[in-house]
Amino acid sequence: MKKFLSGNEAFAEGIRLARPQVISAYPITPQTIVVERLSEMVEDGSLNAEYVHVESEHSALSCAIGASAAGARAFTATSSQGLLYMAECLYYAAGGRFPIVMMNADRSTALPWNIYGDQRDSLSQLDSGWIQAYAENAQEALDLALMSYRIAENKEVSTPFMANLDGFVLTHTYETVDIPDREQADRFLPPYETDNRIDFENPKNMAFSAGPDTNYIFKYKEHEGILAAKKAIIDTEKEFAEIFGRKYTGLTENYRTDDAEYIIVTLGSIAGLCRETADKLRENDIKAGVVRIRYMRPFPNEEISDVLRNARAYAVLEKDISFGNEGTVFTNVNSALKKTGLNVKGYNYIGGLGGRNISAADIEKIYTDIAKGTESVNFIGIGGEDNGK
């Protein structure tokens, strides 16, 4: 069934199909629409879930962890300050191996206050142990919502899943979206089964302490779990394509990269404009390509080094900065290349902070700049007279 939906609404439709049993969420712009839709679905009976009106984001995730420990499928959603407020629980959910799914509407972090989209909220939590996916459009958002539980609940993985949607640009933009039918969704995603739960036949002590002798082993296994998500993502997408007919490309999505000399590596909704710009440049015989990172964790080390191997230069375009260093995505991409001994020239382009526009001209300039060589870290339009207008 096709419907005209915003990113938030599409995600909510995906969650309805995933049949979570407990939803706990606290409102924050620009996430609110997804929890409003879900509460409506609970009200009208089309989603049979406990909707818990928690009093904070910390409680939202703490409640979801409790529900997951009870063996229930749990969902929450947040953004920005809310994600930071629940940060303690992010690590807790990952360490306890609870396959909770959370939608994060990527938004700027205070100060100064700002409600618009950048990716500094989720990228600051890369080390929390969550799988991190970044959607580009509403259809992908919906499909991710459905696939996320299959990946997170995979026995080898057992890791919570954060699906990131660019605030406003994706969460509030309407597109035509295909909603899978209920029977097919149920065939794709069976009910959650786990041993990592409260059990009245064989009682359990959970979320315990572990001293120096075993703590390290628990952490190692947590790492193995999220690494196992690489295969689970590929397998899940394959089965998804068989049932629903839409194909996804794993941890990255490459566009005209086979013969590309200059490649922009980016994530989220800006990738579309990058592809359009690459097309345009190719008309002028500039061999431009785009790599969209779909998953920041587990990180696509091999995929990145493979695709950048033959390029002359690449630029990492990101809505993030790790103050005192550079963009975090840039750091990660460089590390992927370094590990394979490749020495392709790379540049960092930071832009879009606090929702500031990144234009086609900005992107075109990235391609032409890196062809000539430029500063290692660049701030798009900073100091410009138009202030991004």
């Binding site: 306890g96 191996r97 990592n196 064989n202 009682p203 002590n205 959970m206 315990f208 082993i217 628990f218």
Partner: protein, 97 residues
């Protein structure tokens, strides 16, 4: 039924669970080494009123055949039982090393 001491006390890499979820009531160490004094029940005097049983923070007292019996593996020697006993049936003695 109460948590009890298990044979298996240490865990190799493969035996450490994948998640923080494990069998409830799994004990590997006792608490007897904590004591400098120990409660001694005078069975002649004990009337099995269960005051000591109810007030023991460690739950180490059970009433067996109407008399208080102490699990010395887990008694820490706090002395609450001796103090709570209205008829003086429990006395604290120096721990025998």
């Amino acid at each position: 039924m109460r948590p009890y001491i298990r044979e298996k006390k240490s865990f190799t890499f493969d035996e450490v669970p994948e998640n923080t979820c494990f069998e409830a009531g799994y004990l590997t160490t006792v608490n007897s080494g904590w004591r400098s004094i120990r409660p001694a029940v005078n069975s002649e005097k004990c009337v099995g009123c269960e005051q000591c049983y109810l007030y023991c923070p460690d739950g180490v007292i059970a009433i067996n055949d109407g008399k208080a019996v102490i699990d010395y593996d887990f008694c820490k020697g706090c002395g609450i039982c001796a103090k709570i006993c209205r008829i003086g049936a429990i006395e604290m003695e120096a721990e025998r090393k």
